[in-house]
């Protein structure tokens, strides 16, 4: 019987090594594998390269991991002003940033996961972010060659998971998780609920278990379920 579940986040992240590259799902706090990231902080690997849309949402999980000083490079589209830990390390020259437009980041990960050698995109053509990139004119429009992105690990956050590694998300949790699941050597998921095989309707399996190596069921990180003092507008 296949059983990809592990009993703790600590066990789930144990194989991470110094110098590893890690994809982290999430857009803001939604779909961010915050408990896996906290376990990684305790695990202590260094010189990490993180691939993520942002660089932290506060002094916990991703923000704290960056603040710990064990991250060498971040590949991201929007290391937002709220990522104070990243800001400090970046301005001190301690972290390298590879800034990638969000759609290009997504597609590079998709290319990595689906076996493509790269793709041409119009995004960023003629801008500063095109520097050093091969260009090609197709039907009169300029495109940039972008190369695939893969990683040693991907950490995902899903709502339901089963022992086969099938995952289902809710709300806006899917974001980067589904695509990152395809592009890493070892894929680890944090889920809210472990369900029996078949309980996730086949039509609702957003990440099929073929992509997932390990999953752990854990309560959500307390900072992630905390309501802000004032619910902000969109």
């Amino acid at each position: 019987m296949i059983d990809k579940t592990v009993q703790s986040c600590r066990e789930a992240v144990a194989q991470v090594f110094d110098g590893a590259s890690i994809m982290l799902g999430g857009f803001g706090n939604v779909g961010m594998p915050a408990q896996l990231i906290e376990a990684l902080r305790e695990q202590g690997s260094r010189d990490l390269t993180l691939i993520s849309n942002g660089a932290g949402t506060g002094p916990y999980a991703l923000g704290a991991l960056v603040g710990d000083g064990r991250v060498r490079k971040v590949i991201a589209s929007f290391p937002s002003p709220s990522a104070a830990e990243f800001r400090t390390r970046y301005l001190a020259g301690e972290i390298e940033l590879e800034l990638v437009p969000q759609g290009t980041l997504v597609e590079r990960i998709r290319a990595g996961g689906c076996g493509l050698g790269g793709f041409y995109t119009p995004t960023a053509a003629g801008t500063d972010l095109a520097a050093g990139k091969e260009t090609r004119v197709i039907d009169g429009q300029e495109y940039l060659l972008e190369l695939p992105l893969k990683a040693d690990f991907a950490f995902l956050k899903a709502h339901w998971g089963d022992r086969l590694g099938n995952l289902m998300y809710r709300g806006t949790m899917r974001n980067f998780n589904t695509v990152m699941a395809t592009a890493a050597i070892t894929v680890v998921a944090e889920v809210d609920r472990l369900v029996a095989v078949g309980e996730i309707p086949p039509d609702a399996v957003h990440t099929p278990g073929i992509f997932v190596d390990r999953l752990v069921c854990v309560e959500r990180h307390p900072k992630v379920v905390e309501l802000p003092r004032e619910a902000s507008a969109t």
């Binding site: 437009p101 969000q102 960023a124 053509a125 801008t127 806006t172 589904t178």
Partner: protein, 232 residues
């Protein structure tokens, strides 16, 4: 007489039609959602994976798993769809959105614009701005006509780092509505108290005047009492 930020958003909402699929950027653009005619089926896209963003929730209706691109909590409109990043950026870059409404630092007469690299901000961030900029069918820009220091933001050529080349279709400022055409900037509407010459004086590129150019008619305040017009 000038439009407030909400006034600009109100005016943009008047240009959206039933059946439009629209992405609203941060800043003034996201305010447009407050002025939509909710009896019309206009679908708001959020790049983190929503088509059909609804109004913001009451505090006791917050769903922690539902946020929009500005990272605030949101609700879903009837008929909404949720999806992942590859599909979201397929909509954006693939030419499926009717409009993207974006802020800008500068817009050039050839349709180039700059909005992702803020002067004085040492940590760069681009997000989905460049993907929207190349992909949406129409790029609408919402911005003040001039900078805080009075410098024109409509210019002959951009000096700030570009977001995309030759993509802007229409610019909504606090004093005018201007189309960007193959022939450059064309003035379509002006706020009361302004005229083509006074708009030209605040514009850093040639500005022609549409034959049907007219004064905007904007209420002083929205139905909820938010000021749409300022008189300073």
């Amino acid at each position: 007489m000038m439009l407030t930020r909400d006034g600009i958003a109100w005016r943009i909402a008047r240009d959206l039609r039933e059946g439009d699929y629209v992405n609203l950027g941060v800043g003034i653009p996201v305010l447009v959602s407050n002025y939509l005619d909710r009896t019309q089926e206009i679908f708001l896209h959020s790049e983190n994976g929503i088509l059909g963003v609804g109004p913001r929730p009451a505090r006791d209706e917050i769903d922690l798993d539902l946020i929009s691109a500005g990272k605030g909590f949101c609700t879903l409109a009837p008929g909404a769809a949720l999806f992942d990043q590859p599909l979201s950026f397929t909509m954006m870059r693939g030419g499926h959105l009717t409009h993207a409404v974006l802020g800008a630092i500068e817009v050039a007469e050839n349709g180039d614009f700059a909005n992702w690299s803020v002067p004085g901000e040492a940590v760069p961030g681009v997000g989905g701005a460049m993907d929207l900029a190349v992909g949406a069918k129409n790029i609408f820009i919402a911005m003040s006509h001039v900078t805080n220091k009075g410098a024109p933001k409509l210019v002959a050529s951009c000096s700030s780092p570009l977001t995309a080349r030759a993509r802007v279709r229409r610019i909504f400022t606090d004093i005018a509505v201007i189309d960007r055409t193959e022939a450059g900037f064309v003035l379509r509407e002006v706020m009361p108290g302004h005229d083509p010459d006074s708009i030209r004086a605040k514009t850093g590129a040639a500005l022609s005047v549409a034959p049907d150019c007219h004064e905007m008619t904007v209420p002083e305040a929205s139905a909820k009492g938010v000021a749409l017009i300022r008189h300073d």
